[in-house]
Amino acid sequence: MNFDFSDDQKMLKDQAHKFLSEKCTPKTVRGVYQSGSTFDRALWKQIAELGWAGTAIPEQYGGLGLGYLELCVIAEELGRALAPVPFSSTVYQFAEALLVSGSEEQKQRLLPKVAGCEIIGTLARAEGPGAILPKNIRTTFRNGKLNGKKTAVVDGMDADYAVVLARGSDDAGERGLQLALVDLKQAGVKRRAQQSIDPSRAHAELTFENANAEALGKQGEAWSDLNRVLDRAAILMAFEQVGGADVCLQMAKGYAMERYAFGRPIASFQAIKHKLADMYVGNELARSNAYYGAWALSTGARELPLAAAAARVSATQAFDFSAKENIQTHGGVGFTWEFDCHFYYKRSRELGLALGPQRVWKDKLVTQLELSNAA
């Protein structure tokens, strides 16, 4: 049994932790909140120098070719630090979409730039509130031209490229869908900054008017390709969520030990102890599910869709719970702008929605159980 990260991977994690505890403190996050900028450019530049974006990108495409386990440990540390950079959209979503659906030429052209953080990429799916269903996708991709509107696109203000879920034919179902790769720096693309619950993760509305775009992958396979990308991204993001959840528990613990009420540290009250114990239980379950996801991702196992859904649901629940109960443990000060608790509360929900809500992932999970049960 060897269900843990290797010493080398743990060392990489320690290095990432050390780097981020110096370069990305809650003050960094506060800086983005208060400056009104969309992300921290200085931090992004330093991350570029470290080569983190290329961790799992094969060497032939300019990456480090280390692997997904290495990317998972970095993701946990980015999540812990609430790093306000376009890493998850660029690396977990855009790069994975290229790896899953891209042609050899597209991968050669773009992945080295991703690995060097020379470009920012994102994935554009939603067109409005509610479920994202094949029949509701109105954005069209015909004869190399993209038309339509996408909303709540993470890092959409800064992205150089987007992978857009569009309709490529008259077929109104899944088979008519096509992924389109679009350069966002062109006249046919309009961007509008949107207000996000998490100001350190900027969102945008993208409008395409006869924008030039190219097909990514085959028509008819777009929906299944997209789901494969989301599965991979869900596992990587689960590590960010697990990292964030752990910080919330540590913050709540630290505060409860220092804060005296009724003549004793509030950490000695069972109401607080049991709350923190529940945070610990949820966080450990999430961590274990995330590890299983990491294994599935790194080996390309058949169980990957089930592992991804479980990692996603478990991590979302853990971060949601830890973030809200961290504020509760702090009491009134936890609800002030001045304290850092709200950064985590906002990020927990932002990450919990970014790849689709729990409802969708729970449904995927049970579909996988039905399949494995039938086999």
Binding site: A277, Y280, E284, A294, R359, L365, V366, N373
Partner: protein, 411 residues
């Protein structure tokens, strides 16, 4: 990262499997398993026979030194043996678990050479069964509040009082007893540990009929039970320290199941078979959400166990994550069973032969309150996580420095 054995582990697994092949048959169909704690003479006889066979090879307690009948192996080897043994149709040796897991290790830590020579091997072979006599009507979660008295009379001790929730006492030969030897000092300081024969005059064992109707536990009454001072373990007044040794050995229960036979697969199966108001239950969104919620808890525990086993496999001390298991399992069983009964509708009220699947979910639901209490209540386990894992301070204890006979009791 993988789930493979190391070469050494693989070698041990092959050895264990070869021995099991030579001595037992692989399970054929789905096996319901013996209900634990039932006073079933035949199954106890079979358990003793299987235990003796394992003991001959050192497999009865793999981590114990060879001198006392173990194999001198590693905790990981014990886990591997348990995994392999579970594939074979062998008698359930759960009746020996408390004795070997908790009582005998305490005896080995505190007993005389003579006592160790006399008791360890018969216990290992299953010839003699031990039970643990700690909990009392006045001391469950707060076990140090126990009241059973041991009073010195010459070279003997005289025991009076009662114990409760004692697993396996009905077929036990010996018991590990924690008793109060001095009620005039604070509660933790007036306790002493002993062992005694359960077959001697003055010891009365009565089964407890549980809320579920089953009787897996007992209450024990001691009336002027006389035991020699040589059956004392540790110093007078040092019983609490000895008890902590006993309870520490509970931690080694790794590699076992995580919640028994009733879990998400059974619920999925039920949901496939039932029709609800809007179609098949398995297609109902509310049902799917619940299944997913419980699945991530089950899977999370399973992979937490893998993490613990990985630490053992690397020769490291397992982390504290193993302490979450029972909190998760017990509540999940209760909630999942109740939800399954909801799906069954009015028929959910039926159990036994009249129930769906012979009342499997009904039995789970009836047993669940016990699981949430036995071996540490949900609340005590949360305290343990808060204090020992997270390092939070203990609650203020109003009876800590008060002589036991002056402490508030509410009666």
């Amino acid at each position: 990262m993988d789930f493979e054995d190391s070469p050494e582990e693989a070698r041990f697994r092959a050895e264990a499997r070869a021995w099991l092949d030579a001595n037992a048959k692989l399970k054929t169909a789905r096996d319901a398993g013996d209900p634990l704690g039932e006073d079933d003479k035949t199954s106890l006889k079979a358990a003793k026979a299987w235990q003796a066979k394992k003991a001959e090879k050192g497999y009865a307690r793999i981590t114990w030194p060879k001198e006392v009948g173990g194999l001198g192996g590693t905790p990981m080897q014990q886990v591997i043996f348990n995994q392999e043994e579970a594939k074979y149709d062998v008698a359930n040796t759960g009746a020996f678990a408390i004795g070997l897991g908790m009582c005998i290790p305490t005896l080995m830590a505190y007993g005389s050479k003579e006592a160790i020579a006399r008791y360890v091997k018969p216990a290992l072979r299953g010839d003699e069964i031990w039970c643990q006599l700690f909990s009392e009507p006045a001391g469950g979660s707060d076990v140090a509040a126990l009241r059973t008295r041991a009073e010195k009379d010459g070279n003997d001790w005289v025991i009076n009082g009662s114990k409760v929730w004692t697993t396996g006492a009905q077929f036990s030969d010996y018991g590990l007893l924690l008793a109060r030897t001095d009620p005039t000092v604070p509660k933790h300081k007036g306790l002493t540990m002993f062992y005694l024969s359960m077959k001697q005059p003055g010891v009365e064992v009565r089964p407890i009929k549980q809320a579920s109707g089953a009787s897996g536990f007992n209450e024990i009454f001691f009336t002027n039970v006389r035991i020699p001072d040589s059956q004392r373990l540790g110093e007078v007044g040092q019983g609490w320290q000895a008890a902590l040794t006993t309870l520490m050995h509970e931690r080694l229960a790794v590699g076992g199941g995580t919640g028994g036979a009733l879990d998400v697969p059974q619920l999925v199966q039920l949901a496939r078979e039932l029709e609800l108001e809007d179609g098949p239950a398995i297609k109902n969104a509310a049902v799917r959400e619940k299944i997913a919620d419980w699945y991530v808890r089950s899977a999370g525990l399973k992979y937490t166990t893998y993490r613990t086993m990985t630490a053992l496999s690397r020769g490291q001390q397992p982390g504290p994550e193993a302490s979450i298991a029972k909190i998760v399992v017990a509540s999940k069983l209760q909630d999942l069973s109740a939800f399954a009964m909801e799906l069954e509708g009015e028929v959910g009220a039926l159990t036994g032969e009249d129930g769906v699947e012979n009342g499997a979910f009904q039995m789970g639901w009836l047993g669940a309150p016990g699981l949430r209490i036995a071996g540490g209540t949900d609340e005590i386990l949360r305290n343990i996580i808060a204090e020992r894992v997270l390092g939070l301070p203990q609650d203020i204890r109003v009876d800590k420095d008060v002589p036991f006979n002056k402490a508030p009791t509410g009666k």
